[in-house]
């Protein structure tokens, strides 16, 4: 029978191997495990305790693809994300986006309302889908908003309004028509929605 030392060594070894699998740099194969780098910020269960980070599990594949491409090419700005997006070979961006989109949207972080859209959020439905879970539009893929993190939503809406985020002209003009308090109300409403 193995003594505790042997067991400890084996356990440590297994954990180390596991850790390596989940943190090694982008390889040609095993894109799925490469994506584990994303979860260390976006949450290992799909939602980070840092609510300024967006939920990406279950987000639309086309939307994810556009954001990754924009991070690479400068359409959207974030130092960490531009490094991370640059590290995925361009030919694999589509596959990576698809894998992320097929993961389950995580349970809500806040109490949810199930019926009817609050006033402000109704306007979003025209592009983001009747239940605000995302849709295709003439102006490109619109992301899911329902159940997204409130702090992230507020930050992005503010960024559109101030020009800090400039990868969607329609969003810029819509957000400029709201004041700061309205944007925060809207973020709160959207975060509490569960379709």
């Amino acid at each position: 029978m193995r003594d505790w030392r042997t067991k400890a060594v084996i356990r440590t070894f297994c954990l180390a191997m596991l850790a390596m699998t989940f943190t090694h740099a982008w390889a040609d194969s095993a894109l799925e495990s490469d994506l584990a780098q994303c979860w260390s910020c976006h949450g290992k269960e799909g939602r980070s305790s840092d609510r300024t980070m967006p939920v990406i599990w279950g987000q639309g594949a086309d939307y994810i693809m556009k954001q990754l491409t924009d991070y690479r090419d400068g359409g959207r700005e974030n130092q960490i994300m531009s490094s991370m997006a640059e590290s995925i070979p361009r030919a694999k961006l589509g596959e990576a986006s698809k894998i992320i989109s097929l993961k389950p949207w995580p349970a809500s972080a806040v109490p949810t309302i199930k019926e009817g859209l609050p006033d402000l959020a109704q306007a979003c439905a025209a592009c983001h889908g009747a239940d605000l879970t995302g849709a295709q539009t003439d102006a490109g893929p619109a992301p899911r908003l329902a159940g997204q993190n409130e702090l992230y939503l507020a930050e992005q809406m503010h960024a559109f309004a101030t020009g800090l985020r400039a990868n969607h002209a329609v969003m810029t003009s819509i957000m400029r028509n709201l004041d700061g308090a309205q944007r925060e109300d809207l973020a709160r409403q959207l975060a509490h929605l569960e379709p």
Partner: protein, 450 residues
């Protein structure tokens, strides 16, 4: 002395001496590490031969979460100094620069870009007045007064895309006239967005730092220039092209924004510059590349030589080759890479530096530079998030750096401050900004130096 006790003492001394020495100066592999080994006074020296192989450890994304100052958490500094908030509630606090009359200028880059003036109280301990000098700016960062000396007539501000200047006279708390655009051809996006500006001591040269447009140019270069010799003649040796043209450089212009030239190449992201008083030597605080593991490659602060090539994207820290740039290797540049003066723990993210020329700090610290480390995201355990002191001998960096203010890390996930910029005030105390919670802190010596 009893023989037995004597031998025990010798044995104890032999046993303890190495660890005591290690506590004073960490070198080689022991110099690398995370926040848990930080403490005021701990000194490190990293050399080019200490650099770990790429991916000797996995590359890990580990963004810090900024939290308010936790109950009981406090900043630590060296014996004989104290540190306390100077001004709070300054979102996006980035670059600090001292105006000759003693006012402190601060750029607040994001989310609402503006330039603020902090006026110290009589005893220097607090900002007793805060005024918005200019607002509505996009990513304002570097600040410089011109001409150098006691009576500048302009304050220059660098941002993505351009350098502008406002009319200025000593004591102004608001711009008295509109901005004039002096340089309008700086690159906008992608990736590194900070732009710093400083003047040479004689006021004839304006240095502008522009970081790279990517981590390591995996697809921003495009095809090589057909005639590399001609390209380098019109730019500089080691210059990058394609979307990286005029990036990862320190550029120079006249104060009127004319005669654009590349002063140095291969500097991935010189986030902060300072001119060494007396010698006029330019220094850069530089962030090296990501995704090569916990301890590769070191970030650095270095004197910058005119025409010097510092490696990016093809090399780092001397002739360590990086195979990721899409252009393929550049063996022709291998012998031209300058090894930077002071190598710092990889991923520390040095952003700003300032030289201590005042008389408040001890004489032994005069002429030293103090550097703000913004802190890591690409490391399994956080590192940086502190102010360090770079020591000099005969105006030349010793290669050593010492923890000066630590304590912003709260466990493995949270931090409550992200240092950005350092400046010395008229009374000789040091201010540093941090953009996590938007605070400017003051470090003062408890007793006047001899």
């Amino acid at each position: 002395m009893d023989k037995k006790i004597f031998f025990m003492s010798v044995a104890a001394a032999a046993f303890y001496a190495p660890s005591l020495m290690a506590a004073e100066m960490l070198t080689g592999s022991t110099a690398f590490g995370d926040w848990r080994t930080d403490a005021p006074g701990v000194t490190r020296k990293i050399t080019a031969t200490d650099v770990a192989a790429p991916l000797a450890t996995p590359s890990t994304a580990n963004r810090s979460k900024v939290v308010p100052q936790p109950e009981g958490a406090k900043l630590l500094t060296m014996e004989g100094f104290s540190v306390a908030p100077f001004a709070t509630d300054l979102p996006g606090a980035r670059v600090l620069r001292l105006a000759p009359n003693g006012d402190i200028f601060l750029s607040q880059s994001r989310p609402d870009g503006k330039l603020s003036v902090l006026r110290p109280s009589k005893d220097g301990s607090k900002a007793e007045q805060t005024s918005v000098f200019a607002d509505g700016l996009k990513d304002p960062y570097g600040i410089a007064f011109y001409p150098p000396g006691p009576n500048p007539t302009w304050v220059y501000v660098a941002m993505q895309g351009k350098v502008v200047r406002y009319p200025y006279k000593a004591g102004d708390l608001k711009a008295t006239g509109p901005a004039q655009t002096i340089v309008d051809d700086l690159i906008v996006g992608p990736s590194h967005w900070t732009r710093d500006v400083v003047f040479s001591e004689d006021g004839k040269t304006m240095y502008v730092a522009v970081g790279s447009g990517s981590n390591v140019a995996t697809e921003t270069l495009g095809p090589r220039p057909a005639d590399m010799a001609a390209f380098e003649a019109s730019h500089a040796v080691g210059a990058t092209w394609g979307k990286e043209e005029w990036r990862a450089n320190v550029l120079t212009y006249t104060p009127e924004g004319k005669e654009k030239k590349i002063f140095a190449t291969g500097i991935r992201n010189c986030s902060g510059m300072a001119v060494q008083p007396g010698t006029g030597t330019l220094f850069c605080a530089t962030n090296e590349r990501d995704l090569l593991g916990d301890n590769t490659p070191p970030d650095y602060v270095t004197s910058v030589k005119k025409g010097g090539f510092y490696g990016w994207p093809w090399f780092y820290i001397g002739a360590h080759q990086d195979d990721r740039p899409e252009s393929g290797p550049r063996p022709d540049l291998k012998d031209k890479v300058i090894v930077p003066d002071v190598l710092m723990q990889p991923h520390s993210a040095p952003l700003g530096l300032a030289f201590n020329t005042g008389s408040m700090f001890p004489a032994s610290m005069r002429g030293d530079a103090f550097v703000a480390l913004h802190g890591s995201w690409n490391r399994s355990l956080h590192t940086g998030y502190k102010i360090v002191r770079m020591t000099f001998k005969n105006n030349v960096p010793t290669g050593e750096y010492q923890d000066f203010v630590t304590g912003f890390t709260a466990g493995d996930e949270n931090v409550w401050g992200r240092p950005v910029s350092v400046t010395f005030t008229k009374d000789g105390s040091m201010l540093f900004s941090e953009d996590g919670n938007g605070t400017v802190y003051r470090v003062s010596a408890k007793t006047a130096s001899k």
